[in-house]
């Protein structure tokens, strides 16, 4: 992202933001409430159009003019801040809808589940520890399980870049440890951007951290250097 700005009714939610994420990098974004973290993800995924700036993916693809679906199909998957799964569909069905490819209307009307598809779903069910719950409606899952299911849906899409907004909100300590492991292992094959409030969680990811404040980057570096940064301390303690 380069020099991106967006305002809502005159309020600059994102202000000349520039951010670069490398391939297979795991990046954490922290920042106080209202810093613009979610809005940043909205811009990357095409949900919100920026007023200025460029968003480049894979060195050359300009995302600004693309639709949400097109961007998703480029390989950018997103977990929303509020866990967003299909509550009236079973866990299995949720994953089935997320299967890579076959996005056209008629492909879905005449869709047939192949055994590879099923294998893939089983594999992801394993990864997100929901094997036993595959028949249940997603709406019946605990908050943490829904977060995992949503991450599982991202995995089904086989994306190159995962944008994960507050994955451990509402999770027990144990669950969030599992999530940290999961995200770290994902970063071996994917680029992952994680937005999180939970400092302990971010520390456990042990990676590069970007601090966002009032819509632009305040500091960037490893967790220790960021935490000792004078500006960051001011922002966090000043609030």
């Amino acid at each position: 992202m380069n020099g991106v700005s967006v305002s809502f009714d005159g309020f600059k939610a994102i202000n000349n933001l520039s951010l670069y994420v490398k391939k297979n990098e795991l990046r954490s974004i922290i920042g106080p409430n209202g810093a613009g973290k979610t809005t940043m993800m909205d811009i990357i995924t095409g949900k919100t159009r920026p007023d200025e700036g460029r968003v480049i993916y894979d060195d050359m693809v300009d995302l600004i003019s693309m639709s949400e679906a097109e961007i998703a199909n480029l390989g950018i998957g997103r977990k929303f801040q509020k866990p967003t799964v299909f509550e009236h569909h079973s866990v299995y069905e949720n994953l089935k809808l997320a299967l890579e490819g076959r996005r056209k209307v008629f492909e879905n009307l005449f869709f047939k589940l192949t055994s590879e598809d099923d294998d893939k779903i089983q594999e992801v069910l394993n990864t997100i520890a929901l094997q036993e719950h595959y028949k249940r409606d997603a709406g019946e899952l605990s908050h943490g399980q829904k977060q995992w299911l949503e991450i599982g849906m991202l995995l089904m899409q086989n994306p190159k870049l995962l944008l994960v907004d507050e994955p451990v909100a509402g999770m027990t300590k144990q669950e969030s440890e599992h999530t940290a492991e999961l995200l770290t292992s994902l970063a071996e094959k994917h680029s992952v951007v994680v937005v999180e409030h939970d400092m302990e969680f971010v520390r456990s990811l042990a990676n590069r951290v970007t601090v966002l404040h009032q819509g632009s980057v305040l500091a960037e570096g490893d967790m220790d250097s960021v935490q000792n940064n004078q500006k960051v301390i001011e922002v966090y303690l000043g609030e």
Binding site: T45, K47, S67, E68, A69, E70, A72, N73, G77, R78, F80, T84, V85, F86, E87, H88, H89, E93, K96, L97, A98, R103, K104, V105, N108, L109, F110, F111, M153, Q157
Partner: protein, 384 residues
């Protein structure tokens, strides 16, 4: 080796309500014509031609309700304008029936329908050409409502109009059509509409045989419409359709073009509604702009709510129950019908959120629980 099963059986496999529904339709297809044509009038089992036609009309409403349930119950779009598609299908059929009259009209003009002679038309308007051909008229029954739904949906879904706003513009759509069709210069007979039909495919519309044939055709159309919708909602597309209803943003983030899916469902639904209208017209013998009136479209919503949306057969049941009540009350006490309809709507929204079908399912679930409980209790007694 997988055992091959015809599609229809596969569709009904896990669809208990659907099995009953199709069985009832089949039964009606046999019983009604038999009781009308083969049983003497003196018998208690005799069904009059009037009733055959009335039931046929209910069936066209049932198809209309199924088409509405597809967009409302599954896709989550509350269309308050489905009367528009029904009416257009009806007009397409009406135009064919008008051209069939030929020179047997009051004015005896072999080409121009009576109302055109009366309004001093010199020649047939361009859009009436070809409607003397049954196949073309039938094509139009699909194309005209489908095209309107396509254009409307294209504009609405692409600009992300949803919820109440979308409902209001669907209502505006049918209202606009009503106003347009009321005009004499539009070329569809103004407020009198199209009527005085004589024949369909050369068969006398007044004959008992034709009436029964139309009834059977309506029943077949309902069954086919049901299977088409069931096929759609059982597919992965159907899963996506309810996913859009529940969480549109997630569907988009998965890379689906939700607007295309909505458009597909809306167009299919409009075409089914058009077919319902086309079957309705020869049975009631008239189509006029009143079919486009907003209240009609609202009534359709009540049918679906009453029967229970999101089941397809529930919508059909609702259409039949409400219209049965309507026929009865508009004859017995015409002035109370509208109040009853309003009351019905309130009762359904407050006490039957899932309609009649929902209530039946609940009761049978309670019963099976009870029997389970009593079996358990007996076991306890024995062990004691």
């Amino acid at each position: 080796m997988m055992k091959y099963k015809p599609l229809i059986f596969r569709l009904l496999e896990n669809d208990k309500g659907g099995k009953y529904f199709i069985a009832i339709l089949l039964l009606l297809m046999i019983v009604v014509p038999t009781c009308n044509l083969l049983i003497p009038e003196s018998s208690v089992f005799y069904i009059s031609t009037y009733v055959v036609t009335l039931l046929g009309k209910y069936l066209t409403y049932a198809l209309l309700a199924i088409s509405l349930d597809l967009v409302w119950g599954y896709l989550g779009i509350l269309s308050l304008g489905h009367g528009a598609f029904f009416g257009l299908g009806g007009y397409a059929m009406g135009m064919y029936l008008m051209r069939q009259i030929g020179d047997r009209g009051v004015y005896g003009n072999p080409i121009l329908p009576d109302f055109m002679v009366f309004l001093d038309y010199k020649e047939l308007p361009w859009f009436w050409h070809g409607f003397d051909q049954f196949w073309l008229a039938m094509l139009m029954v699909f194309i005209v409502p489908g095209l309107l739904a396509f254009v409307f949906g294209w504009l609405a879904f692409r600009s992300r109009v949803t919820g109440v706003y979308l409902s209001i513009i669907t209502q505006a759509l049918t209202y606009a059509l009503m106003l347009a069709f009321f005009r004499n210069d539009l070329g569809f007979g103004g407020n009198n509409g199209l009527t005085d039909f004589k024949e369909i495919l050369g068969f006398d519309l007044q004959s008992d045989y034709t009436r029964n044939a139309l009834f059977v055709c309506s029943a077949i159309a309902v069954a086919l419409g049901y299977f088409i919708c069931r096929f759609i909602v059982d597919s992965r597309l159907g899963s996506l359709i309810t996913a859009i209803r529940d969480s549109e943003g997630r569907v988009r983030a998965l890379g689906y073009r939700d607007e295309y899916i909505k458009l597909f469902v809306f167009v299919v639904s409009a075409m089914l509604a058009g077919v319902a209208g086309a079957l309705y017209v020869p049975q009631v013998g008239i189509i006029n702009p009143g079919e486009f009136s907003p209240i009609n479209s609202i009534e359709m919503v009540i049918w679906v709510a009453m029967g229970g949306r999101g089941t397809l057969y529930g919508a059909a049941l609702g259409a039949i129950v409400v219209n049965f009540a309507k026929t009865y009350f508009t004859a017995a006490a015409p002035e109370v019908w509208l109040f009853m309809l309003g009351g019905l709507f309130v009762v359904v929204t407050l006490f039957l959120p899932h309609g009649i079908i929902g209530a039946i399912k609940k009761i049978s679930a309670m019963k099976s629980k009870k029997t389970k409980a009593s079996v358990e209790a007996q076991k306890l007694n024995i062990s004691n």
